[in-house]
């Protein structure tokens, strides 16, 4: 793995503050424009709203100055910007829902509360987790926790089936989608596992047609994860989570071993599994049919598993055109679940292609910062964890936007930071906190090691307090 050393490290907290101001302008501007578009006047509570949002952003900024002064200066503003736009859009849909009889509303208030909780949690992660390498101790704990979270919706009494998918768990009054948190736990597990075993997975095996194939017995882990993600697909009927977990594992396997053969094996396994599932299970088959024949009147009108929602979203985006109808001027509320699964279509309608591209660009830069952090950090565990987390955010965005734009079959995932959903928001803010923590390590100037060179000429690093050393050397 390559390590790039920039010659002069700038902490970049100043640039972060500047970008945060822009991000807040984006979020608050959207909120004000929504009020203007829907009701013809700036919302009355815009001052309170902007104060709250600014306070949350500044809280994170101060925590970064305090606990992670070398953290990446771009990650936080991008996240705040996306979250702000998402909040404004949910508020806009809320106004439309409130005007409709018998429609659930009040999403915006709840999402705002979740945002506050998420930011507080992210700050807590940054304050409590001083060194991301501590997480390596909990490799196998994370595995148990991750698998437990994935299986939680299946537990009778806790799990609940909503809209055909069994992805909700209700503990007391609080409902959540545990799979969102499972992806963090599993990323920790994969990183810890792969950093120990990557040599066996990378080097052993024979070469066929230019591909370094792994040995049959080393296929164990990938088969287990594949089976687990198929189990999610079968028992929870959740195509999105299944795709996400398996994709993350294959991506991290590729990061760890640099062997293309793992990607090929992973793709073959997934295509095989998906084809099998599409023929064997009606709900997966219906998704495929809604994707391929979306504009058939039969498929469009079918009540469960039809393509009505997808096509409505497409019509909405087409109505938006290049520059959009303007915030508050379109009709995004006509699409079912416009605030969660189809927020991308709502944004595409009101901000147009130009605005949607800007939002996708923000997600892209966010993922790039994560991968850049993975390149810059010096320990293997941090590399894999940052790479895996960045990949999972990017992949989730791709799966959602691809599904809404009919590039791939629609899956029930939430758009990171934009869509309504407490679990998703919490989990993604924790991911951001972890990325910030790792990037602090990656961008911090290397400690000056006074090399004691013995007669043999092999430099011996001066002893330093390195937590990973206690668990065995990181390669």
């Amino acid at each position: 793995m390559t390590t790039i050393e920039p010659h002069r490290v700038r902490a970049g907290r100043g640039s972060e503050l500047g970008l945060l101001l822009l991000a807040l302008m984006v979020g608050i501007g959207a909120y004000a424009l929504v009020g203007l578009g829907v009701e013809g006047e700036v919302p009355a509570d815009v001052v309170g709203y902007s104060t709250g949002l600014t306070a949350l952003a500044l809280l994170m900024h101060v925590v970064l100055r305090w606990r992670a002064p070398y953290a990446d200066p771009v990650i936080l503003p991008l996240t705040v910007g996306l979250n702000g736009v998402g909040l404004a859009m949910i508020y806009r849909l809320d106004l439309a829902y409130a005007a409709k009889p018998n429609h659930d509303s009040g999403f915006a208030g709840r999402q705002l509360a979740w945002t506050a909780i998420s930011v507080a949690l992210a700050a807590a992660v940054l304050i409590l987790l001083r060194d991301h390498r501590t997480l390596r101790r909990y490799t196998y704990t994370a595995m148990v926790v991750g698998l437990g979270l994935v299986a939680l919706p299946l537990v009778p009494g806790i799990g609940q089936q909503i809209n055909g998918a069994r992805i909700w768990a209700h503990i007391g009054p609080i409902g959540m989608q545990p799979a969102e948190f499972a992806k963090i736990a599993l990323a920790v597990f994969f990183a810890g596992y792969l950093v120990t075993h990557r040599d066996t997975l990378a080097l052993a095996g024979s070469k066929v047609l230019g591909l370094q194939l792994p040995r049959a017995r080393d296929l164990g882990p990938i088969i287990i994860v594949w089976a687990a993600s198929l189990a999610v697909l079968v028992f929870e009927r959740d195509l999105g989570t299944s795709l996400l977990l398996f994709g993350m594992f294959v991506a991290m396997l590729y990061l760890a071993t640099e062997r293309l053969s793992w990607v090929v094996i992973g793709l073959l396994l997934f295509v095989g599994g998906a084809a099998l599932a599409a023929t064997a299970f009606s709900h997966v088959g219906a998704r495929f049919e809604a994707w391929l024949h979306a504009f058939d009147p039969d498929v469009y009108g079918r009540s469960p598993g039809g393509s009505g929602q997808l096509v409505q979203g497409l019509f909405g985006m087409a109505g938006g055109g290049l520059f959009g109808t303007g915030l508050g001027q379109g009709r995004p509320d006509m699409v079912p679940y416009a605030e969660s699964d189809f927020i991308v279509a709502s944004l595409g309608e009101e901000l147009g292609l130009t605005g949607l591209m800007a939002l996708l660009m923000i997600s892209l830069v966010l993922a790039e910062r994560g991968l850049r952090t993975a390149i810059g950090v010096r320990d293997g565990f941090g590399k894999l964890l940052a790479g895996g987390l960045a990949f999972v955010v990017a992949f989730q965005t791709f799966v959602v936007v691809g599904g809404v734009t009919r590039l791939i079959p629609l899956t029930g995932l939430t758009t990171p930071f934009l869509a309504y959903g407490g679990s998703s928001l919490l989990a993604n803010w924790v991911i951001v906190a972890l990325l910030l923590r790792i990037s602090n390590d990656a961008r911090r100037p290397a400690p000056v090691v006074s090399a004691l060179t013995p007669a043999g000429g092999i430099p011996v690093p001066a002893p330093q307090d390195d937590p990973t050393e206690r668990f065995g050397r990181v390669r």
Binding site: I4, E5, P6, H7, R8, R10, G12, S15, G18, L19, L22, A23, M25, V26, G29, A30, L33, L36, G37, G40, P73, V74, P77, L78, G81, F323, G324, G326, L327, Q329, L351, G352, T354, G355, A358, L359, M361, I362, V365, E368, R369, R372
Partner: protein, 158 residues
């Protein structure tokens, strides 16, 4: 509120979004340009070649003075001459390091004085020869005259 204002606000918001994206990217431009790339050749120019014969040694553009090894294990090695003296011998600290059992650790010195170059023997065991003559005292070195140091022959070239 007039239609025009709303359109302006709508487009202005899109512009704001892109300003945000582009300024985030501007902060990152150091990722593209911030990594120092050290060219190996440039670094080698300053260090005098000392190992195996080098065919790709950089040739100075103007015909400046240089030392060329014409015989011996280092044949083809070129040492560009500046304004400082050149130490020849087996010791690793020498400017031109000879891997040669017949040369002394500090064998000979070539130095500039009053516009011309001189060669001086530094008390070597086997001696330094200018043509057929053993160099006893600092002797002026003309271009093209072979200087024998151990098993190597060195020549001053223009």
């Amino acid at each position: 509120m007039s239609e025009l204002t709303i359109t302006l606000l709508r487009l202005g918001y899109l512009a704001l979004l892109w300003i945000f994206v582009l300024s985030a990217i501007a902060v990152l431009r150091r990722d593209l340009y911030g990594t120092r790339i050290v060219e190996r050749r440039a670094a080698r120019k300053r260090v005098v070649p000392e190992a195996a014969p080098q065919q790709d040694a950089p040739r100075p553009k103007q015909q400046a003075l240089r030392l060329v090894v014409t015989e011996g294990p280092l044949t083809g090695t070129i040492v560009p001459l500046g304004s400082s003296s050149v130490l020849i011998g087996r010791a690793p600290g020498c400017t031109l390091v000879l891997d040669d059992d017949y040369s002394s650790s500090r064998h000979a010195r070539i130095f500039p004085q009053s516009g011309s170059w001189f060669v001086e023997d530094l008390g070597s065991t086997n001696g330094t020869f200018l043509g057929d003559q053993r160099v006893e005292s600092p002797t002026q070195l003309a271009t093209g005259t072979p200087v024998r140091v151990g098993q190597s022959v060195i020549e001053l070239q223009r």
